[in-house]
Each structure stands twice: as structure tokens, then as C-alpha cells.
């Protein structure tokens, strides 16, 4: 790919819309991060004036609605509904770009803001125009200095070109797991800790500085920037009729080429694994959606990456994280360590999360280590059921989903661990890179 960067660039006609690969089209063509110049040559300036609608164009909110764009941060909420909710509030709004990506197994937002920063920033500026905002806060984790420097340089380029009618502010936030939750961002921007706030009032009603606030994932905004240029019909050319468009996927674990790729929604998981250079070992399962996601056993890997197909399996595309677990690994001990990490990263605000997550993690560790008492499995199931919908954010729900899906996907291993003690692989170091289960140093 680097050889491509050395060659004279053969860019397509500026108005020609990208095909299957969209967000990463520039990267695939040039192999280097897009400067503002590259970006403007390819896409032209963001159509800010058209975002509000005119005789020749539909308002951006309607275009996004027709395109069927959903949030790419994990929850998959319809973006147009968010835009409309903020736009309908009185008073100057604020736009927050969520590029926190605190999911340890995901790096798509980091990658995107490195290779196509101006696509993300265009989306933020267009969304700001659509909802009547004068300020955009771009939230990055404090511990990613390189990403910060790159985006800072991109912002300088835009400022020099006098491109944007709104203020763009780069913010460096603390990086615990739940700090990427939208209310955590708002709370931190208001001078508080980066802990989830709970609702009401909802962010779109009263967010940053008590103003209506739109919080969107970085990738979502990049898609929005393309919809503003090429329209909903073009957007719907990829993906399924229910879930149109493409999505960024982060692949890791037992695949030849770990990293980020762009795929149409509805692409099967097997195809995605093949595009990542095929599995390096026979696979046992795939963890879909990250640490707060769902284990899919090998039998389900033909499932398309789409909300509708994954829902019966209790899974969702989420933020597009795929972790391939080889057959040689112990799914239960991997899960136990992820749960311990999630428990350590609880914001310690809500009782069921603060007390329940460590309890579930402890039970799971005992199960993985073969230290199970007779009451363990019923207790673990009961406690897992006590977590969902009982926190200010969805952190306990995610941990419960992971634990429950592990008990389902590795049901045979559970039996084996209960009757014969731990499997040999349980004593191996984990195959999934899991950060240490220590509480975050700071929330400020």
C-alpha cells in the first residue's frame, strides 16, 4: 500500500461518488492520510448552505432519514431522529463528536480520524448547520497523543482555509471504559467527571452548558458527510434495504491481518474474516461487538452483520468489533478476564453495577478456574439477570450480555469445568489482549 503513496495520484473525478468502500476510499487509493487539499480535491467543500435545504436540495435531516443512517457507536440509534430532536429544541445547540472509542478491541474511529479526518470534521460541521449549533467539541481520549496531534493539524488546516462557519474545539478526556458514553462526555465538558450522568434531562434537551446537544460517533458523522454530498439513494446502494450503507469493522484475534476494514452492512461474518486474511487457526467462536458484546459460536459465523439477522442470536453489530477466538483457547477464562476488566471500569455510581459486576466477575473466575461450588451456576445466572436496565448507562447491560452469551456459546465447556475442573487452556495466558483489571486513575 505504501508503493501507491509514491505514485502520482490518479484521483477519480471530484464529483464521482465512491462505490463499495466509502469512508476509506481515499485511503485505499492513496495509502496515506488525506490532507485538506486531498479531501477538497476529491469531495469539494462541505455543502453547509445546502444542509438547511433550498429549492435545489432537501434538508440534511431529511436526506439522512431517507438514507436510513444509524449510529455507529454501538447503540445503532437512527441518526435523523437524533438530529431532529436537537434541531427542534430552542436555543443554540452544541455538537459533540464522540471519538473516544474506549472499547479496547476497537480502533476504527482512531483509524478513520487518522486517514480521513476531514470527512469526520465535515460531518460534524454539517450536523452543526443542520441542528443550529455554533460549537463543535471533538472528544478524544487523553492517552492518544498521536491522534490528538493529527486532528489538531487537520483543524489548523481548516482554520487557515477559513472553511467552517462554526467553532471546532478539540477536547482530551480521561479514558475509562464508560467515559465514551454520551452523557459522560457532556458531564466532562460541563466541568464534571467523565462518568455517565443518567437521564432525564436528556442530552438533546439540556447538555453542554445546558444547551441542546447532539452527540454522535465519529464514523456516523463521516457517513453523514457523504450523504450530504451524494444523497440517500447513493447511500442505499450498499447494505441491505433495512440496514443500508457500509460500516467500519475492527478485526482482531486469530486472523492473519488484524485491523480495520469497511464492509457493507449485511456482509456475512465469514466473509469479513476471509477479508482479514482468513483465520490463522481453527476458530471456536467470535466475540461480536467488543467487550460488552456477544459470543457467537462457530455454527453462527455465516450470519450477516446486520441488526435484523443478529437479533435472534441476542447479538448486534454494535461498533463493529470482531474478535476471533481460536479453538485452542478457553472461552470461559477469556470471558472471566474481560468481566473483571469491565467490573474494574464501573463508574461506581449505581449499586447494581458497582456491586453486581464484581460479583458476576468473581463467580465467572471461579467457574473458569474450576473452583465451582454447587450453587455457582444458578447464582451466576441469577446475578447476570440482575444487571440489565438497572444502571444510569448500559455498562452493566453489556457485561450481562457478555456473561450470558458465554454461558450459551461455551455450554459444553461450562459442563466440563463444573464436572472435571478447568480445561488445560484455562491456565494459558489469555489470547485476547485485555487491559489490566485495575480501576481507572482519574475521571476528571
Amino acid at each position: 500500500m505504501n508503493s501507491a503513496a509514491m505514485m502520482p495520484l490518479a484521483l477519480p473525478h471530484p464529483s464521482a461518488p465512491p462505490g463499495e468502500t466509502r469512508l476509506l476510499a481515499d485511503w485505499y487509493t492513496t495509502g496515506r492520510p488525506a490532507t485538506l487539499n486531498d479531501h477538497l480535491t476529491r469531495y469539494g467543500p462541505p455543502p453547509v448552505a445546502a444542509a438547511l435545504g433550498s429549492r435545489t436540495s432537501v434538508p440534511l435531516v431529511e436526506a439522512v432519514e431517507a438514507a436510513g443512517l444509524t449510529g455507529r457507536g454501538g447503540a445503532g440509534f437512527p441518526t435523523a431522529r437524533k438530529l431532529r430532536a436537537v434541531a427542534e429544541r430552542r436555543g443554540r445547540a452544541v455538537v459533540v463528536v464522540n471519538a473516544m472509542e474506549s472499547e479496547p478491541a476497537s480502533c476504527k474511529d482512531q483509524f478513520l480520524s487518522t486517514v480521513a479526518p476531514h470527512l469526520v470534521l465535515d460531518g460534524a460541521v454539517l450536523a452543526a448547520a443542520a441542528v443550529g449549533a455554533d460549537t463543535v467539541h471533538i472528544c478524544l481520549p487523553r492517552d492518544r497523543a498521536t491522534q490528538h496531534r493529527q486532528l489538531s493539524a487537520a483543524l489548523d488546516e481548516r482554520r487557515r482555509a477559513r472553511l467552517d462557519p462554526v467553532r471546532l474545539r478539540l477536547q482530551a478526556l480521561p479514558h475509562p471504559y464508560v467515559s465514551s458514553e454520551s452523557t459522560s462526555l457532556v458531564r466532562w465538558l460541563n466541568g464534571g467527571p467523565a462518568r455517565p450522568q443518567g437521564s432525564p434531562p436528556r442530552t438533546h434537551e439540556r447538555g453542554v452548558h445546558r444547551r441542546p446537544t447532539l452527540v454522535n460517533n465519529a464514523e456516523t458523522l463521516a457517513h453523514l458527510a457523504l450523504i450530504a454530498r451524494y444523497g440517500p439513494d447513493w447511500y442505499r446502494q450498499a447494505g441491505t434495504p433495512d440496514e443500508p450503507g457500509t460500516t467500519l469493522v475492527t478485526l482482531s484475534g486469530a486472523v492473519a491481518a488484524t485491523g480495520v476494514l469497511e464492509a457493507a452492512l449485511g456482509t456475512s461474518i465469514t466473509t469479513l474474516l476471509d477479508r482479514a486474511g482468513e483465520p490463522t487457526e481453527p476458530l471456536q467462536a467470535v466475540l461480536l461487538g467488543g467487550f460488552a458484546g456477544t459470543w457467537l459460536p462457530r455454527a453462527h459465523l455465516h450470519t450477516p452483520l446486520a441488526r435484523r439477522d443478529l437479533a435472534p442470536l441476542g447479538a448486534a453489530p454494535g461498533a463493529g468489533v470482531l474478535i476471533a477466538l481460536p479453538r485452542a483457547a478457553c472461552g470461559l477464562s477469556e470471558t472471566a478476564q474481560i468481566l473483571a476488566y469491565l467490573a474494574a471500569h464501573s463508574a461506581r455510581q449505581c449499586g447494581p453495577c458497582h456491586l453486581g459486576l464484581p460479583a458476576v466477575a468473581e463467580d465467572f473466575t471461579a467457574l473458569a478456574a474450576g473452583r465451582a461450588d454447587p450453587g455457582l451456576l444458578p447464582r451466576l445466572r441469577r446475578r447476570t439477570g440482575l444487571l440489565p436496565d438497572r444502571g444510569a448507562c448500559r455498562h452493566p447491560d453489556g457485561a450481562a450480555r457478555l456473561a450470558a452469551s458465554a454461558l450459551r456459546a461455551f455450554a459444553d465447556d461450562v459442563d466440563h469445568h463444573l464436572t472435571h475442573g478447568p480445561c488445560p487452556a484455562a491456565h494459558q495466558p489469555p489470547r485476547i489482549p485485555i487491559p489490566p483489571a485495575t480501576p481507572p486513575e482519574t475521571w476528571r
Partner: protein, 70 residues
Amino acid sequence: MTSTRSLRVNRITCTGQGLCAELLPELIDLDEWGYPLLKDRAVPDQLRTHARQAVAACPRLALHTDRGRP
């Protein structure tokens, strides 16, 4: 007066004092850590007074009734 009410717990302010479960056992259980489990968020008409008392009794003001169905 026919509008329905639904229960809501502010999970951040709730410290698991447990008064709500004493006053409204029909709708609220406590989990093993003493935090409320809502069996049903919708408040039936005959329990409305009890619900109001439970809301008033919460020392952390963490229990609320909202208008409308859950």
C-alpha cells in the same frame, strides 16, 4: 385523573436504603445488595397512593413517578 403513572429509579442517587420496598412491596423487590428491583414499572390505580408514599419516603429522593406508561 386516568393518566397512568410509571415508576423510575434514579440509579445514581439510589443508595439502597430500601424504604421503597417496605412501602410498595407489590411493585418493588430488593436484590441481594439491597437495591430496588422494579417488578412492574406501571403503577396500577389502586396502588397510586402507596406509590406516592414510597416516593415521598425515599431519603435520597431517588424514586420517581412519571406520567404516562413505562
